[in-house]
Structures are given as C-alpha cells and as structure tokens.
Symmetry: C2
Subunit: 114 residues, 2 copies
C-alpha cells in the first residue's frame, strides 16, 4: 500500500507517518521497475504504527519507542537483550500504574471530604 492508505489504516496523518519515518518507525520499499519513487508499505508497517500509537498513549517517548520497536521486530539485540528491554518497560508500566492508582485514591478522598 502507499502512504495514504497506511495513514487511513492507522489513523495517523501522512505528515505524522513521514515524521515517524525519520525515527525509523516504518520504512517503505521502492519499486525499481516503476519510474516513480513512491514507497510501498506492508502489513508489518501497520502493526508497527499501531504499536507506536499504543506505546505513545502509555507515555513512552519516541526514543523509547524506537528501542521497543527494535526489541520487538528488529535484530540488533539478542533474545536475552530483548527480554531485558521488555522487562524494563514492564517495570516502568508497573510504576506508572501505581502512580495512577495513588492519584485516583487521592481524588476519591478529596471528593468524599467535599
């Protein structure tokens, strides 16, 4: 698919996808035979961008997401390193969940005392 379809599939804007391309979140392939220089994207591109969206919504920075994508799909890390990275992210999430729960408790207490 071309970038426009990828945008529709992921709900991201074409601009944002191009921006993410600079981070290496997705990269299309060019058809040598064609005389245009359009990039083509596959299903993995959709999945990668969905992961980006999910990771962003839980507060990971684009830097962290780059690392996560590499651990998830890439081959720069060994299996053991990948597990380490994933585990690290899980611990961050646990800490964040705790903060959210604490804040919720504070809000509930404040409401009761009103």
């Amino acid at each position: 698919m071309l970038i426009n379809e990828l945008a529709k599939r992921t709900g991201l804007s074409v601009h944002t996808i191009r921006f993410y391309e600079r981070y290496g979140f997705v990269k299309g392939t060019r058809n040598e035979a064609a005389r245009n220089n359009y990039f083509h994207y596959d299903e993995e591109a959709v999945q990668r961008l969905e992961l980006v969206a999910d990771a962003k919504s839980v507060g990971f920075t684009l830097q962290e997401i780059a690392e996560l994508l590499d651990a998830w799909y890439g081959n720069t890390y060994t299996k053991s390193q990948k597990r380490q990275i994933m585990l690290g992210k899980i611990l961050v999430l646990d800490a964040r969940i705790k903060e959210l729960r604490d804040m919720k408790r504070q809000l509930q207490k404040c409401m009761e005392e009103l």
Copy 2:
C-alpha cells in the same frame, strides 16, 4: 517561607516554581511593612505544588492541573461542579490504567513468544 525554601521543600527548581506561578499554581503574599518585594509562601503552597507534581506524573497537562487545583482548593466552582471535575479526572485515570495494563499484557505476550 521564601521561594528558595519552597523549592527545597517541593524538590522543584526556583525557575519551575516561577513558571508555575504564571499558571496560578501558587502565589505568594507580600509583606507591606517590608521595603523589599519578596513573596512569602505558606504550607498550602507546598501542598499545591506536591499535587502538581503528582498530577503531572500521571500525565495531566498544566491546563488540566490548573482546573484540578481550582476544584481542590479554589472557590470558583460549586461543590457539585467540583465533584464533577474530580469524577471526570478519575474516569480519565481509569482509562489510562486500562491502557497501561493492555500494554503490559502485550509486552508479556511478546516476551513469552521470543
């Protein structure tokens, strides 16, 4: 206390506190008798800034924090409006907790499949 002590008590920098002052997160009082124009802060200022830090760590924007502080300490809203605001924030937190748990589950699944 003066701003320097407030910074030490809250762990925020003096710069950040001054920046937050523009948002109305804290405001000091001036001593008319004194010939300086130093601002003095009370214990509520410490509490307010601690709430700001907590709210920030769970992902609220400064705009949202301004509203929360008003609902918490201010008198621009009625009790019923305050409860509405608090409840709104709690629902946001619930949604965010769910996202975090989903992401955690995804990461765990990915780790197992490695």
